[in-house]
Every structure is written in C-alpha cells, then in structure tokens.
C-alpha cells in the first residue's frame, strides 16, 4: 500500500478540504497520513520519513502558500527524501494571478504537481496513479 502524507501548511486552519482529501484517498486504497491543519514543513517531512511516503500533498487555502512552501524541496533532500513527489493545491497565491506563471514558480521550487484553485480531488486521482506507476 502506497503512503501519501497530506496536510494544510502554515498558519492556515482550513480543515474541511483536508478531511475530504483524506476520505477520498483512503477510499482509493492509499495509506493516508494526515498531519492536519497548521502544519509546518518539518511536520510533513517527519511524517514522510517515518511512514515511508511516496507523495507529500500540501494544501494551502489562505494565500500564503508561496511563502510557506519555499524551501520544502531543499529540506526534503536534506532529510534523505530525494525521490518523494511534492504536490500542492488550493488557493496557493494571493489574488487572481495567471496560473501558468504560478505553476512555473512552484515547479522551480521543486514541486512535481501544482493544481489550480477549485480542482476536485477526484481529478487528481488519475495523476497520482500515473505518477506512482512511473515510480515502480
């Protein structure tokens, strides 16, 4: 069973979407480790190490995602998680910005997948499956 770490990063307390993601991924047969709201980068990383996770799926709903996510990839590499896949989604930047630009910025920060606002988790499922298949 593949393990996915999920959670809401930074000083962000949006809990509803987090629960929906947990429910959906668990139903799909993944081992979901949910670090919950108000989580730091270290919370995600520590959970991923102990649980041997393949994917870290970061949610951010309050506009500060760019600040909160900066340096996460570097810390993953530093912690020996070179191959872990980083996903991010939600309202990850302030205001209505061109998503192509946003995606580029997050890709440069080391994220493998960047999802625009309003993406249902169901749309992400085939991508998770594909990415995990490629890892094998």
């Amino acid at each position: 069973m593949d393990t996915i770490v999920i959670g809401v990063i930074g000083a962000d307390v949006h809990a509803v979407g987090n629960k929906i993601i947990e429910y959906t991924l668990t139903n799909e047969g993944y081992n979901v480790v949910n670090v919950g709201v108000l989580s730091t980068q270290e919370d995600f990383i520590n959970a991923a190490i102990e649980a041997n996770a393949k994917i870290i799926l970061v949610s951010s709903l309050y506009g500060q995602g760019e600040i909160d996510c900066r340096g996460l990839r570097d810390k993953c590499i530093e912690s020996g998680l070179d191959d872990v896949l980083l996903y991010v989604g939600g309202n990850i930047v302030v205001g209505k910005q061109d998503f192509v630009e946003v995606e580029k910025r997050f890709a440069q920060m080391g994220f493998n997948r960047v999802f625009p606002p309003g993406t249902p988790i169901d749309d992400v499922l085939p991508i998770i499956k594909k990415d995990l298949d490629e890892l094998r």
Binding site: A11, D12, V13, L38, A47, I49, E50, A51, Y62
Partner: protein, 461 residues
C-alpha cells in the same frame, strides 16, 4: 494476621515498609545504606533490624516484594528514526519503564555510537523506527549494526511491524539476545507504551538484577519486580485515579528530588484547556515520567551549578552562598547530611533550582501563531495548568523544614509565561517516604495502598 514487607533498594538507601494487610495500616518503615558494592543483603539485614525495633519482633512477613534502583538503576539506550517521533516515543517508553536513558540515537547509527553503547554500561537497548507500514530500511540497518558489533546486551525491537521477520533473522544470525514487541509508534504521533514496557520489565527481572548483584536477595525475599521509578509511577497513577469506590486526587504532579537525579511525574491527559490552542507532536503518555540525570543534590550537584549562568552564581555569592564550593563538597561526600542552618539553606537552594529546571523540561509549552482568524497557539507537551496537587518526595524534600518553598518552584511563573505549569495547586509531602512501597503493594492490594497513601501524604501549608 497477614503482613507484607516492601523493600526499595535505592541508589543510596535501602528502605523498608511493613503493612498489615488485614487491618489495612502502615506498621512501620526503616532505612539503611544500600550495600550493593559488597553484598546487598548486609544493608537489608541492618534495615530489618531497625524495623524490628519499631514493630512486634514476633512478626513474620507473609510476602516480601522489592523494587530496585541500586547499582546505577536501569540504564537504557533508545534508538529511533526521526528525533521528534520514534526517537521520542522510544525515550518515553524507557522512562515510563523506570529506566534512565543514557543514550538517545536517531537515524542510521554509526560505529562510534555503537561503541558508546558498548562502553556506556547500557543494560537494555530499545530499538525503534518507522510506523507500521512505514520506513524499514533504517531500523534494519541499525539492527545489523548492533549485530555486527557483537553486543551481548538485550535488544528490544519495537519498530515497524513489517520488519519482524527480518529482525528475527538478524537476531538469529548475529546471536543477539533479542526480544520483539509492538511498535512504540504504530501510527504517526500515536504512542504505544504497554507492550515494550512489559518486555523491558521481564528482562529487568530475569537478567538485569542478576547482573547487578541484586539477585542474591531473592533467596530471602519473594521477588524484585520493578525498577524503583516504575513503582513510583504506579503509585502516582493509583493516587491520581483512585480505585473502585475510593476516590483519587485527580490530576497531579510528583517531584522526586534525589542525590543523583530529579524525577518529575505527571498524571493526567494534559490536553489543551482553551479553544485557540492546537496540540502538536507526539501523543503524551497519561502517566508521564521524565528524569534529569544532571540535577541532583549530591552526586549531581555539579550539574546544578553547571545549569546556572555566571551572573546567577554571583547573585548567590552575594547572599553568602558559594554554590560552586558547596556543590564540590556534596558531590564528593554523597552521604553528607546538613549539620547547620547554612547547610540546610544550601540544600534548599539546590533543591529549588533542580525543581524549577526539571519541571521546565517536563511541562508542555505554548507558542503563538498569527493566523488570518487571529492569534492561535501551538501546544507541545502536557498542559498542567489545572493540576490540583503537587506531591513531593525524596530525602531533601522530606527532611526540609519548609518543603513548600521548594515545591512552589513547580508553579506557574510570569518569568516563564509560555510554560503550562500548575497555576494554583495544593502542595503535599510523602512524609513517610512510602511511594515506591505503595507502588509495589498496589500489585496485590491497590485499595490498601491507596488508603495508606491518602492517610500519610498530607497537604503542607
């Protein structure tokens, strides 16, 4: 008549407690120096002689049980993966089992670290790492490292359950005296103490007390069942929770200031008390123990001085207390007792500092986090602010003229506003020094142990 004798082979004193089971009363206590260096039985016989002066010499004991922290106590090494997670979980299991965690190792262990285990007189190694279904690689690597070093120390495996088969093979291949039990952290931030602790206790009873020269006593008594701190933890838990129709004290903190260590126990969930506080990190044990090996009023007196800043030492000097000199005297003459007012004051100062530092390392802390919906707080550790009772034990507290002055150092202070210390507790003292004995008695007769504790442990004003 049915009489029980409880013995606590402490690092300095062997303490005896006799209880009449039918009348449910404490008959008497006595103590003598622990003589584990020569023959542990000598000190026991002396203490017994003293006890018989207080009780009817015709009394025969129906059951004799003991706990021990003699010969250095139970020295453990805790190995895990991530420091805040399985390493911390492993550490808490060792402390709850009554051990002294001399070595804490994380991630892949090195040859140097294995050497430290070898040279550190470690009694038991607790090897953890990975949640169930999680990381396997690290804990298997560490098991092989231990195997290759040809250690003869017992190794308790309490990591990822998926590795059980491989671990068993490694134990067999390298001839390791290994034990396998449930994972200390089966899921993220979930603590599982019982299984590993009961295995540690079994090893303590079967191997460790023999290696330390304590086993010889078993020809004369029934058995040595616990490391002393575990007996104290049992007593504190009973005193807090109550038993059957006899009510307990509720949430409490227990401080045990000894010559070599200062132990703090807290019983209670310690969950957040306010809605703007969010709990973070590894789950806390309901009955939690921490032990500070650098804080003690005799063997470890130098450690207390080391924990002070130069400025603080100067301030004490102004008041006429040369703490550096006093600490040197105390750590070289560990059986010294205060002879005058000045000596008592110095002991009191050392005890106050130990209490303050030890509770700081035990209690939970909050940290503000500014969110769009206002200031919220992270809580790490246990919230002890609503704790009703603070109980003191240990020679320096029991013999102090004003033990309350020392115990008050446990309370909330504006100088440390982010520490979740007891706000307005009542203070109590274990005047008869019977907590460890009552922990032992609680194995067979929890109701009597509780009754005696409630009768002898009194509030101090």
């Amino acid at each position: 008549m049915k009489i029980y004798l409880m013995i606590d082979f402490g690092s300095t004193y062997t303490k005896l407690t006799a209880v009449d089971i039918e009348k449910k009363v404490l008959l008497g206590t006595s103590q003598f120096f622990t003589t584990v260096q020569t023959d542990i039985r000598e000190g026991y016989h002396q203490a017994l002689k003293k006890l018989y002066k207080k009780i009817d010499p015709a009394i025969k004991f129906d059951k004799t049980i003991a706990c021990s922290s003699a010969a250095g106590g139970l020295k453990m090494a805790a190995i895990g993966l991530v420091e805040e997670l399985t390493v911390e979980a492993a550490k808490r299991v060792c402390l709850g089992a009554g051990g002294k965690v001399d070595l804490v190792l994380s991630h892949h262990i090195t040859k140097d670290e294995v050497l430290k285990i070898k040279n550190g007189n470690i009694d038991i190694i607790l090897l953890a790492g990975g949640t169930d279904g999680g990381n396997q690689e690290c804990v298997l690597y560490n098991a092989r490292m231990l195997g290759e070093s040809e250690l003869t120390i017992p190794v308790v495996y309490a990591g990822n359950k998926e590795c059980h088969d491989d671990i068993r093979d490694i134990f067999a291949k390298y001839n390791i005296n290994g034990y396998i039990c449930e994972n200390v952290m089966p899921k993220l931030n979930e603590l599982n103490i019982e299984s590993a602790q009961s295995v540690i206790r079994d090893i303590f009873m079967s191997n460790i007390i023999e290696a330390k020269g304590i086993k010889k006593i078993e020809a004369e008594i029934d058995e040595v069942v616990f490391p002393t701190p575990h007996a104290v933890l049992k007593a504190a838990e009973l005193l807090s929770k109550g038993y059957m129709h006899e009510e307990g004290f509720g949430d409490l903190v227990l401080v045990d200031i000894g010559g070599a260590t200062t132990d703090v126990y807290s019983i209670g969930s310690g969950s957040p008390k306010r809605s703007d506080v969010i709990l973070r990190g590894l789950e806390e044990p309901f009955a939690k123990r921490t032990v500070e090996g650098d804080l003690g009023v005799r063997y470890s007196a130098m450690g207390i001085v080391d924990s002070l800043s130069e400025e603080e030492i100067k301030l004490y000097n102004e008041q006429g207390y040369d703490l550096v000199r006093e600490a040197k005297i105390r750590s070289s003459q560990v059986d010294s007792v205060p002879l005058n007012e000045h000596d008592s004051n110095v002991d009191r100062i050392f005890a106050e500092i130990s209490t303050d530092k030890a509770i700081s390392r035990h209690d939970g802390k909050i940290e503000p986090v500014y969110t769009p919906i206002g200031t919220m707080y992270y809580q790490v550790g246990k919230d002890l602010s609503n704790v009703k009772y603070v109980v003191g034990t240990g020679g320096v507290l029991i013999n102090a003229k004003k033990p309350k002055e020392i115990l008050q150092k446990v309370s909330f202070t504006l100088q440390k506003p982010l520490e979740l210390r007891p706000q307005n507790p009542a203070f109590m003292i274990d005047k008869e020094y019977i907590l460890a004995a009552m922990g032992l008695l609680s194995l067979d007769h929890p109701e009597i142990a509780l009754k005696i504790m409630k009768e002898t442990i009194k509030t101090i004003i």
